[in-house]
Amino acid sequence: MNIFVCIKQVPDTEATLSVKNGKTINEDGIKWIISPYDEHAIEEALKLKAKIPESNITLITLGPKRCESALRGGLAMGADHAIHIETEEHMDNRAIAKALAIAIKQEGNYNLIFIGKQAIDNDSYLTHIYLAENLGIPVSTNVTLFNYESEKVFVEREIDGGEKEKIEMTTPCVIGAAKGLNTPRYPSLMGMMKAKKIPIKKLSLQDLEIDEIDNKIIVEKLFAPAEKPQGRVIEGDIGDAVKELVKALKDEAKVL
């Protein structure tokens, strides 16, 4: 079984974000991580490999040189191979999905593609579905349960109001991983040592025969939202404070 996992490197959720030149974030001092939903994607691939040991897990990412450390992190978790489409170019989701699709096709056979349902930087919720449509294969997004049995995939995906859809797909297909899917493992020391020795396959956009990037989504401005003014803490006896709170919510804020 050939399994691909698409991952994206993003700033750590704890990182302090500031804007540079009004269009991008200031990358100085940022700690980079694998986007958390992509970690769930890696973990699910590893779980499947534990069941079908002859499987091959290939990680794939697109981005500048720094993204190599995300691939190393995924290899340390237990993935077998890694592909880095290295580019400094800004690409929108459609362009990225196209590049990923070409790279995966170039590798030959693919049975399953795991990828996070969103990257936590741009929150676009697009790449995985575009990728599937580019490859002409089925996709489910926001997947919280995954099962594979003789070329059929059964998933549950969370929809609104705590309900779940039970879905059946045939392979190859794309799985958009969500948080409830699993608990990603931490890389072991041995895993980290092993990961260092695995060569990362480097590809350029030219290798994928992408000569021109057709970005349709142009970022004009990146900015911090206006801060809320500080509110008030209602002091005094708790009973009175609660009474005052409810009164304020009803009469002042008018939200009750």
């Binding site: 704890e14 974000l17 958390p36 939903y37 459609r94 936590i120 930087d121 741009n122 929150d123 676009s124 919720y125 697009l126 579905i129 575009y130 449509e133 294969i137 996709v139 997004t141 926001n142 995906r157 969370e158 929809i159 609104d160 109001g161 705590g162 309900e163 779940k164 859809e165 039970k166 879905i167 297909c173 969500a178 948080k179 409830g180 970005n215 349709k216 989504i217 142009i218 970022v219 004009e220 401005k221 990146l222 900015f223 911090a224 939202p225 809320k228 509110g231 008030r232 803490v233 002091e235 708790i238 404070a241 609660v242 009474k243 709170l245 409810v246 919510l249 804020a253 939200v255 009750l256």
Partner: protein, 316 residues
């Protein structure tokens, strides 16, 4: 004049609350509004669709949501009626359906829009779970948008003009992704992304059992129950309840945070709430800096008192 489509999302033939926002927004664009609705009982939805130019009604004996049927049907409608834009809701279904349509029709889609300036072709959307915002220009003939619930204004229509109704059939193409069934949640939960009021618990809730307190208040207020990541990781709450950067982004009128310290990631998921109330025993908790109203105190004392006070209003 250009044509704009609105996908009217139904759930068991009931209209999603934010359809009103989507329709109002489409009218604001100044383009001809085409409402696309999958229903066999159009009459019950006509009131909401007042003021649109045309209604494209898709009928079938089985309109159960299958993403392949829906995306193919809508893609064809887009071509047949020369729609230049399509608006939907950034709901679980919207996030599943719209990217499929965008890929099939080669359109440019922006999810989770909080402002759309049609005149200047500028869309505002949150990134990094709302810690930053971005203004986007879409250089495409055909644009698609999903809008964040509870953000856009709703305007009642005073139009007397009857919309023209066009009936279409569901395109039943081969299903690649087949939804077999829907598993209902044990308790009828209010959808957090559309909820007007949310009451959330954090690590301070101490155990799963204590979330019952919040559920009782939620029932009273017709509110949703949320949780911080700490509470989910500790097993007090399920992951579908998580509010924050790696959970749901919510936008209610009132958000009541109980025993939540207010980590930056949690705040990212709820900061656009109109009014935030914090209940925490630690007066230094960062949540108090962000809250409109705060009470410093033991939540196990405060929450029951709060319930009592709310009962006075809501059982009147």
């Amino acid at each position: 004049m250009a044509n704009i489509g609105v996908y009217v999302e139904l759930k068991e033939d009931k209209s999603k609350k934010s359809n009103k926002e989507a329709i109002s927004l489409a009218k604001k664009s100044g383009k001809n509004v085409y409402a696309i609705i999958f229903t066999n009982n159009l009459d019950q939805h006509l009131d909401e669709l007042k003021g649109v130019k045309k209604i494209i009604q898709i009928k079938d004996q089985d309109l159960f949501y299958q993403p392949d049927y829906y995306s193919d049907t809508i893609s064809n409608i887009i071509k047949d009626f020369n729609l230049n834009d399509l608006i939907g809701i950034c709901s679980a279904q919207g996030k599943d359906l719209f990217p499929r349509i965008a890929a099939k029709t080669d359109a440019s889609l922006v999810n989770d829009c909080i402002d759309i300036d049609f005149e200047n072709n500028l869309i505002t959307k949150p990134v990094f779970a709302g810690r930053l915002l971005t203004k986007i220009r879409v250089e495409d003939e055909f644009k698609m948008y999903t809008i964040r619930p509870n953000v856009f204004p709703v305007h009642a229509s005073d139009s007397e003009e009857e919309p023209e109704v066009i009936t279409k059939e569901l395109n039943k193409i081969e299903l690649k992704t087949r939804i077999k069934e829907i598993v209902k949640s044990d308790s009828k939960k209010i959808d957090l992304t559309e909820a007007d009021i949310i009451i959330s618990g954090g690590r301070g809730m101490k155990e799963k059992e204590n979330f019952k307190m919040l559920e009782e208040i939620a029932k009273l207020l017709n509110a949703g129950v949320g949780a911080s990541r700490a509470a989910v990781d500790a097993g007090f709450a399920t992951s579908d309840m998580q509010v924050g950067q790696t959970g749901k982004v919510v936008n209610p009128k009132l958000y009541i945070a109980c025993g939540i310290s207010g980590a930056i990631q949690h705040f990212a998921g709820m900061k656009t709430s109109k009014v935030i109330v914090a209940i925490n025993k630690d007066s230094e908790a960062p949540i108090f800096k962000k809250a409109d109203y705060g009470i410093v105190g033991d939540l196990f004392k405060v929450v029951p008192l709060l319930k009592k006070e709310l009962e006075k209003i809501y059982t009147e």
